[in-house]
């Protein structure tokens, strides 16, 4: 009989595991920054949270992807079916995008402030600026998964249903670059706007409401003002809403769009550079504001 089999089945021993020091690698500030970015993205998507936290982001992804799949599928099966152009698609997912940003941005900032976890973060190997930039990166990267990936699928679908997909892909490669650029810009501007609101409001639900209602209200005010005023300067109303400016940018990239000629985005007729400068300024002001909100109050 072996010695092991001689041990009774009820035998147990408790060992003190003691304390082991960590002598491994310490990766420094950049790794800490990335750890915060990745963790923030996971939390915002409801990963390692109850399933209820995953429902909203998942549904929003479906809202952005299902129309693409349906359009491409219909175009492949039905000879007369057409796939929507990029401007129409971007207009279509604008609300979904803003709801997504409203879901993600407050999760990034409001929760840490409301639950007083900031002292834990600031006592680690990052600075306050690193914290803000990590949250910004996390918001933008997540939003890009909604504003870039579906539109790439749309581009791919449009080429695949063509008579010669290989030739279509080569011919429309510049369209791919444009839609990706628009998607990235939308994610950056929307992400920063969302974080600006989230940095000023502690309650997550209030921040969500302010982001969605704010964007809808500003867009509506811009349109109504444009219609109501008949002076030449009414074209400046377009700058009331980032959403309108985006529509105008999309129209500049894809002039042969289906937008009605009476739309403000066309009649405002500012140059593409003006719109881009405006968006850049919005982003810069937004980032500075969020950074200012996280300066030590001494």
């Amino acid at each position: 009989m072996s010695s092991a089999s001689a041990i009774p089945a009820t035998y147990g021993e408790v060992f003190d595991r003691g304390y082991a020091h960590y002598d491994g690698r310490r990766q420094g500030r950049l790794a800490a920054w990335w750890a915060l970015t990745a963790y923030s993205m996971k939390r915002a998507m409801g990963i390692r949270k109850p399933w209820t936290a995953k429902v909203v982001p998942f549904c929003l992804y479906l809202s952005a992807v299902i129309p693409v799949v349906v359009m491409v599928g219909a175009a492949a099966l039905l000879p007369r079916a057409e796939i929507a152009g990029y401007p129409r698609y971007f207009d279509g997912i604008a609300l979904v995008t803003w709801i997504f940003i409203a879901t993600v941005a407050p999760e990034m900032l409001c929760v840490d402030r409301r639950e007083h976890t900031l002292p834990f973060y600031f006592s680690r190997a990052i600075t306050r600026s690193d914290y803000v930039l990590a949250k910004l990166a996390a918001t933008v990267l997540l939003t890009m998964t909604l504003t870039v990936i579906p539109v790439i699928l749309l581009w791919l679908g449009r080429q695949l249903v063509a008579n010669d997909p290989g030739h279509a892909m080569r011919t429309h490669l510049d369209d791919l670059g444009k839609v990706m650029l628009i998607g990235v810009m939308l994610a950056i501007v929307g992400g920063v706007a969302g974080l600006v609101v989230a940095s000023a409001i502690d309650r997550k639900a209030v921040a969500v409401a302010v982001i969605v209602a704010g964007e809808l209200t500003l867009t509506a005010i811009a349109h109504f003002s444009f219609v109501a005023v008949h002076a030449d300067w009414r074209r400046y109303f377009i700058f009331l809403s980032a959403n309108n400016v985006f529509s105008a940018v999309v129209h500049r990239f894809f002039p042969a769009s289906t937008l009605d000629e009476t739309f403000m985005e066309i009649q405002a007729s500012f140059s593409l550079q003006t719109y881009l400068l405006y968006l850049l300024a919005l982003v810069a002001i937004g980032v500075l504001f969020v950074r200012w909100r996280y300066l030590p109050r001494e």
Binding site: G18, R29, A32, V111, E115, T117, A125
Partner: protein, 339 residues
């Protein structure tokens, strides 16, 4: 001073050095450290050299303890002065410093919808540990603080004591050289406080991590610390070892039922200086001056020989409370005179 186990620690120059507790460089050095918020001076020219130890940071509420910790962590820029913590400059090496220093904030602040393992592991990553090592360390330190079973439960279901343990785990998960604990027993019931003090004691004695324990409770500091730094209104009252206070040398106050003169003579024969109590209320007290811990045997032997009953035996030496009240009082009086 009780020795902590020797440990290996990374140094600012990138080398890994073996730093024994005794003879090790100071963990905290400051020169003329001053922090003012407008007209309010929170720290007033602190010159500190604190050895690797279990250090009590003592002071009343508003004395400047939290400001000092925040400044030493590089989170708050001093108005004037310089400082080094575990070899890192607090002005220019904040992020490197915080990879080697832990901090347990006083304020309640844990994410409720996260498991303890998840949050502690995340904090390890935030201190620069690779993801896999961070998860492993989180499991280890949660075991060390007594939350091995509960580590996959959401923090929102935790009691105050368990939350304090999670906070402690986040402070040591990256195996720092030094950990700042800001009022770790605040809000705990007696049993929770007892358990927390035992844990803090273990951090230095068993794990070999130097501790700065901020509190306004003298008893807690006297119990677990080897060294004390006392602040009052942002000024340094004293910075000294606690060893020697009230145990190795000083005075004992003895009360017996029996022949007081004979009892006194027996102690004098053993080489102790003995005097009678001077106050009216203490005329039956014998004050025994001693320089070694054999005095207790001498008192016992004398009581047995005279068949006297020992009614009371207490330390007449200077306690931490005496130091605190005496030195803080003296400093305030001096300030009053100056002003």
């Amino acid at each position: 001073m009780t020795m902590a186990p020797a440990r290996t620690s990374a140094q600012p120059n990138g080398q890994v050095a073996r730093t024994p507790a005794d003879g090790a460089p100071p963990i905290i050095e400051t020169r003329g450290l001053r922090k003012a918020y407008g007209g309010v001076v929170a720290l007033d020219g602190l010159d500190l050299i604190v050895p690797r130890a279990s250090v009590g940071l003592l002071g009343a509420n508003g004395a400047g303890k939290t400001t000092l910790i925040r400044t030493l962590l590089g989170l708050s820029k001093p108005t004037k002065g310089t400082g080094r913590v575990v070899g890192y400059d607090i002005l220019t090496q904040g992020t490197q410093l915080r990879q080697h220093v832990g901090y347990m904030p006083e304020a309640e602040g844990l994410p409720s919808g996260t498991t303890a393992a998840d949050f502690v592991g995340h904090m390890a990553e935030m201190s620069g540990l690779p993801a896999r090592a961070a998860r492993q360390r989180a499991a280890d330190v949660l075991y060390q603080v007594g939350l091995a079973e509960e580590r996959y439960r959401l923090i929102k279901g935790f009691s105050t004591g368990m939350r304090q343990r999670v906070k402690l785990a986040t402070a040591i998960v990256h195996d720092p050289d030094l950990v700042f604990l800001d009022e770790p027993t605040a809000g705990l019931d007696p049993q929770g406080r007892e358990e927390m003090l035992e844990l803090v004691e273990r951090i230095y004695r068993t794990m070999g991590i130097a501790v700065v324990f901020s509190s306004h409770i003298l008893e807690d500091i006297e119990r677990i610390c080897d060294y004390v730094v006392i602040l009052d209104n942002g000024r340094l009252v004293t910075s000294q070892p606690l060893a020697g206070i009230g145990d190795v040398q000083g005075t004992l106050v003895v009360q017996i039922e029996g022949d007081l003169a004979a009892f006194s003579s027996l102690l004098v024969e053993r080489g102790y200086q003995v005097e009678r109590g001077k106050d009216d209320m203490a005329l039956n007290d014998l004050i025994v001056h001693f320089t070694d811990d054999e005095v207790y045997d001498a008192i016992r032997d004398a009581a047995v020989r005279l068949n006297a009953s020992l009614r009371s035996l207490r330390s007449g030496s200077r306690t931490l409370e005496d130091i605190y009240l005496g030195d803080v009082g003296a400093m305030r009086e001096a300030q009053d005179v100056v002003s």
